[in-house]
Every structure is written in C-alpha cells, then in structure tokens.
C-alpha cells in the first residue's frame, strides 16, 4: 500500500503523452494555432498572466471550499440520522430521489432571481450539487453497519448519541469519504458552470471572458487549472481516508 502510494508516480505517463501529442500535432499544422494554442503558448499564459489566473482561481476555490464545506456539515449529520432511524428514512427517501436529480444548471436562473449576481447563488448551487452525493453515501454507509455491532451497543444499553458518534460515524466513514470525493468533484464542476452565468469572477467567468476577447490560450490555461485542482482534491481526500480509515488496512483490497 505505502509502496503504491509513494512509489513512482505512474499517473504522469498518459499526461506526458497527451502533452507530447499536443505539441507534435501543433508543429505538424494539424489545427490552426490561432484557434487552439500550442503547449508553449499556454505555458506563457501561466508566466505572463499569473496574477489574473491566481485571482480567478482563488475566487473559484473559495466558493468550492465554502459550498462543499457547508454540504459536508449538513449532509453527514442528516445522513447519520436518516440511516439510523427507519421512519425518517421512509419519510425522506422519495424526496431525496427527486431532489438529487435536479441538474444544478437548471437551478441557476432561479438562484440568480433570488440572490442576484454574486457569490451567494454560486455557493448555494455548489452546496446543492455536493449535498446529495454526501447524503446518499452517508446513509448507505450507516445502513451497512454490521448488525452484531448494534446488538453489542444495545446489550450495553449505549445511549443513542454514543451509537451515532462511536459506531455509526466511524463505520460509515469510508463510505462518507467516497461521497466526499464525488461531492468535491461535483462542486468543482458546478462552480465553473455557475461562474459562467451567475458571477463576475472565477475560472468559469475567466474562460467565458477569454472567449469574448479571443484568448484561446487563457481558455486552455483555465481548463488546465480546473483539471489540476480536480486531481489535487481527489488526492487530498484519499490522504484523509488513509489516515482516518487506517483500521481498514489489511481488511479491504484498497483503503
């Protein structure tokens, strides 16, 4: 496990291949470099326009962190309760299945009507996008708790709060963190979409603006940043999981 996580970063191989193919096709004149920049032109954006990139990246990151953060502190406790109490589950099930299917983009007009242009509609949309995968994976994790462990708690007359905190939460944690990975991905996708419509800053806004000013190099640079942060989030959550679920080592194929 450690040798796999910290060994040679084999994941860069396809990335190097893509960049190489990009460079070769650009030199061979397969496409117009006026419409799609070369790797060198794109790299140049990172050097010359770094303050622009930094400003918009910061704006997007802040929204994602806040939106996904709010989703985490609302979805996980609610998921623990729904997973634990059957009646609550029966009350909520249909609603969850309906609401989770609402595409965030369809809610943008409403969000703007209610909250105007700015951070609030974007954060609310991110919260909604991240909320459902977290809620569903928390409920799933709680329901998967080993039956015997609940009998142990009952035989010991353990109070409900202890059961939620010391049994259901840790038992569901691997599943919650999987949901967290999905939620971070969903939040990141949503922020870019929301910024194209509902805000005047952030990577989504930057990309749309670059289209109007005809700067394809900035568009590609923006896309690369989005992808890079997607990877970063994923790796960070994986580290969290390795730390908090270390009791799983040796129990499952991959923690």
């Amino acid at each position: 496990m450690t040798s796999r996580s910290w060994g040679w970063p084999l994941g860069v191989i396809p990335l190097i291949a893509v960049v190489a193919a990009w460079e070769i096709t650009a030199r061979a004149g397969v496409y117009s470099v006026a419409l799609f920049p070369t790797p060198a032109q794109t790299a140049n954006v990172f050097i010359k326009d770094w303050s622009l990139l930094l400003r918009h990246t910061e704006a997007s990151l802040a929204r994602v962190v806040v939106g996904v953060g709010i989703a985490f502190v609302t979805a996980v406790p609610l998921g623990l309760l729904i997973g634990r109490y059957k009646t609550l589950d029966r009350i909520m099930d249909w609603t969850i299945q309906i609401f989770r299917c609402f595409p965030g983009i369809a809610l943008i007009p409403l969000a703007i009507m209610f909250f105007g242009i700015g951070d609030r509609p974007a954060i609310i949309l991110i919260w909604l996008a991240a909320f459902w995968p977290l809620l569903i994976s928390t409920i799933f994790g709680v329901k998967n708790v080993e039956r015997t462990l609940l009998s142990v708690a009952r035989a010991a007359s353990a109070p409900d709060l202890l059961v939620l905190r010391d049994i259901l939460l840790p038992s569901a944690l691997p599943s919650i963190l999987t949901g967290f990975r999905l939620a971070a991905g969903a939040g990141w996708l949503t922020v870019v979409t929301a910024e194209m419509i509902a805000v005047r800053s952030g990577l989504g806004y930057m990309i749309l603006y670059a289209q109007m000013t005809f700067r394809p190099d900035q568009i590609v640079a923006g896309i690369i940043i989005i992808g890079a942060f997607g990877l970063l989030f994923d790796q960070l959550i994986r580290l969290l999981r390795n730390y908090f679920c270390r009791w799983q080592e040796g129990l499952v194929l991959e923690a």
Partner: protein
C-alpha cells in the same frame, strides 16, 4: 427464587404471512454461580433464548426474571459475549474493552483501571493499542470476554463464543474461561452445538430440540473439575447427551 427464572417462555416470529414458533413453553431456572450450557442443533431456539435473557428480544409469552426483576431490556447485571466476537474494527483493544463502561457513562479516568485489569485478566497486556484485525481469532474473543467482564456482571451470556476458533485454540479458551469463572463466580449461560464442549464446561446442560424449540432434558454433569475428556466417565456423559440429540442431528442432515 433462583437467580435466573424463565417461566413458560414462548417466542413467535412473523415471517411474511406465516408465524414461526421459535420457543415453545420453555421453563428453567439457574442459581448464582452456575455454569449452564444451552445445547442443541441449529434452529432449536438456543440463541433466541439467550437473546431474551440478554434483553435483546422480548418473549411473546411467559416471564423472564434476573435477580428477581422482570426483564425489560438489557439487565445491568448481565453482559453478553457475541458470536464472532462483535468487536469494533476501528477501535483499539483498549477502546473496545472500554466500550461497555463508556455506554454506562463511567468517566474516562474511572474506566482506565478497570480496563487495564481486565486486559491483564485475559492475557492481552502489550496488545492494548492493536486493532482487532491485527489479532488472532482467539485473541479477539479474549477482547470480547474482557469487555464483558468490565461491568462486573453477575450473569455472563455467551453465544457460541468459540464457534469460529480452531480446535486447539478452542481448548485453550475453554480453560481460560473456566479460570475466569472460578475467579468471578458469576452465572454463565453458554450457547453451543458442541456436545464435548458442553460436557467439558457445564454444571448443567439444557438439551434443546428444534421446531418448535423446546427443552428436551436437563442433564447434571457431576464430573469433578478439571475435567479430562479422555476418561470413560466423561465419555459416558457425552454418549448420554448424544443419545438425547441424535434424532435431531439425523433429521437435520436428512432435511
């Protein structure tokens, strides 16, 4: 009045349209300090009877009392050792052993001494910070027993605790259990389907018969301790018990 009293206990389960009679008019009593084995083939209701004593299930009819008090939920003088140990995989040995005290609201500083003492009793010193999956099957079951002993139970309820162990480890664990019992002198109700195990451990064997679960016969084992399974006297008791459940075993095989 005896320490444990079961009077005319019946238990029916509703499964879809039909109702299954799991226990039919079961009565028996046990004194403080007695070692009782519930023995029978699968489906004889021995585990159900144990769950009723543990307060995890309520009988459909009849009365159950422990220490003269009718059971309504888990009794505070009782502790359960579960089949397959029932340990929390995310807790260290120390935290697992602490759980029952924590469930009773015993503050952390008062728990420490008791927990250390019980870990010592079952011979797990030096393993306090290990996780369950790092332990052998026998050691896990020791953790389960240590946890059950922390509340100083007058009644120890054990549901096929050594069923998953290999023959060698089981023999060792049986001797360990007898040692602990000799020290604490609590009442033990021990569910098993192993005839030799029952004869080796019990003061009295309650032989049960399936469909519906009934008591077929109660056998007093008067052999002096420590018992030697290779003696003719031991084998005579084994043969007598086997005679009681032989029909059930053949019926189970043919079914």
């Amino acid at each position: 009045m005896s320490f444990i009293n079961l009077e005319n206990i019946t238990k029916t389960y509703e499964r879809r349209a039909e109702s299954v009679l799991a226990l039919d008019n079961v009565s028996f009593a046990a004194e403080l300090g007695e070692f009782v084995c519930l023995l029978g083939v699968s489906g004889c209701g021995k585990s159900t009877l144990l769950k009723i004593l543990a307060g995890l299930e309520s009988p459909s009819g009849g009365t159950a009392t422990v220490s003269g008090e009718p059971l309504a939920g888990p009794h505070r003088d009782a502790s359960v050792v579960f089949q397959e140990h029932g340990l929390f995989p995310w807790m260290t040995v120390r935290k697992n052993v602490s759980f029952n005290l924590k469930a009773r609201g015993v503050p952390a500083r008062d728990r420490a001494d008791i927990v250390d003492k019980q870990i010592e009793t079952v011979g797990l010193r030096g393993f306090e910070e290990k996780y369950p999956h790092e332990l052998s099957g026998g050691m896990r079951q020791r953790v389960g027993i240590a946890r059950a002993l922390t509340t100083n139970p007058k009644l120890l309820l054990m549901d096929e605790p050594f069923g998953a162990l290999d023959a060698q480890t089981r023999t060792i664990m049986q001797d360990e259990l007898l040692r602990v019992w000799a020290f604490y002198r609590s009442t033990i109700v021990f569910v098993t389907h192993g005839i030799e195990e029952a004869v080796y451990l019990a003061d009295r064997i309650v032989v049960m018969t399936p469909r519906p679960g009934r008591i077929r016969r109660v056998i007093n084992v008067d052999l002096p301790r420590p018992r030697d399974p290779t003696t003719p006297q031991f084998n005579e008791v084994v043969r007598m018990v086997l005679g009681e459940i032989h029909d059930d075993i053949t019926r189970l095989i043919r079914a």
